[in-house]
Assembly symmetry: C2
Homo-oligomer: 237 residues x 2
Amino acid sequence: MSIVASTHPEIQQSADDRTQLIRDRLRDAIVDRRLAPGTKLSESEVGALFDAGRTVVRSALRMLAFEGLLRIERNRGAFVANPSPDEARQLFSARRLIEPGIAASAAERVTKSDIADLRAHLAAEGRHMSERGATARRAEIKASGEFHLLIAGMSGNGILQRFMEELVARSSLVIALYGRSGVSSCGHDEHAGIVDALERRDAASAATLIVSHIDHIEADLELRARTGPALKEALEL
Amino acid sequence: MSIVASTHPEIQQSADDRTQLIRDRLRDAIVDRRLAPGTKLSESEVGALFDAGRTVVRSALRMLAFEGLLRIERNRGAFVANPSPDEARQLFSARRLIEPGIAASAAERVTKSDIADLRAHLAAEGRHMSERGATARRAEIKASGEFHLLIAGMSGNGILQRFMEELVARSSLVIALYGRSGVSSCGHDEHAGIVDALERRDAASAATLIVSHIDHIEADLELRARTGPALKEALEL
DNA sequence: GGTGCAGAGTTTGTCAGCAATACTGGGCTT
DNA sequence: AAGCCCAGTATTGCTGACAAACTCTGCACC
């Protein structure tokens, strides 16, 4: 038994690390929009929910705040981020800058197994799109983000991959907030085109396609300050 | 940190937040190479040094680990990061991808006041370079990084700015680890050229210049596994 | 009716203390 | 002599508790 532990210590580490678990679960909930922007996450409440002490929850909340998914105000608590339209624009500007390079790098390194993974993911996306309802829509947004993360993982650059994880998570929030309900399905064909370019190892095409894909996503957003929080945002900035 | 304060004066979070203070102080120490890679940072020790409890220190250490400056091993403690040559390559690859876009964006938005700040910074760099000794060299590395952060602050994209803060901090570590001692001074003229391009609002030139600048920095590194930690790294991977 | 204030109640920030885990040194076996 | 086992020590992970800060409700007052 000690043999297993000594040869693979890093596996066990993440297995029983409750901070990581809580962080991932909360992030999923935020990205899936089960937690609405602005919702307060009380330390005791979350702790009771996961049957963990406040210390552990606290650590997870700090990490999520670092990723930009939460906003922590001193002595007030942690709130699900409420990205402003300007923040959303910065987000997509960053993605437009980073993703083409990632796609190009991935095009040079993809393996057949990677392509198979991507095709499998495309199929899953198609299934989500054919369904109706809020649940399916959440799954669709999530799957769309995971597609981009898949490519980031193939770029071979762990640093950029981590940046992309943050960007995609925050993008999901933005899309859920500002997206028009029916239109996001256009992305599916574009994803397929990107996979084709990757399979051909056509870095230039992959980069071009992904930029226009991001443009389309952003174009489908309603990036105007909503009437509700307008005053609040004006006072905050 | 003065850069952050000058570009985002509305953020005064660190006024009485000791976690933030400890984090900044430790980061400075790491980036300045006063804390050698591999050094263990004991919670009690750091806490006694800053006259703070372990909880606060713990939080700061977790944040630094999130930024990639520390490595936390469960039940073992926090150690100053010891970036591998491969990690260094990924770092510069990421910078080559991100910084041209930042420079181009900055070129479109710079004000006269920004240019003045940059020129002042160039002058400070020159002073550091004319001096001798390890202290001056540390100051030079630090100032060189701050130059890039200044430009990132002018890009108008807070997300990319934060990415750059992380990349620059980790780059400082890498340069201090793998840099050849005398050669890094070549960067100064290139910085001046970049400022000139920004002043002309010549986005294309600024992007080109900054890429070749990054190339030069990386070319001046000795990115081979050193004899000491080679065995250790081999076992870790 | 609206404003200001005070107290209760809740939540966060921090600290000491306890259990669990990893390192260290000595003694023992081969 | 070299390697192994085991207890002692030190450090981390975490829980509970306390103080400070904030929010909310009710009431007096203008």
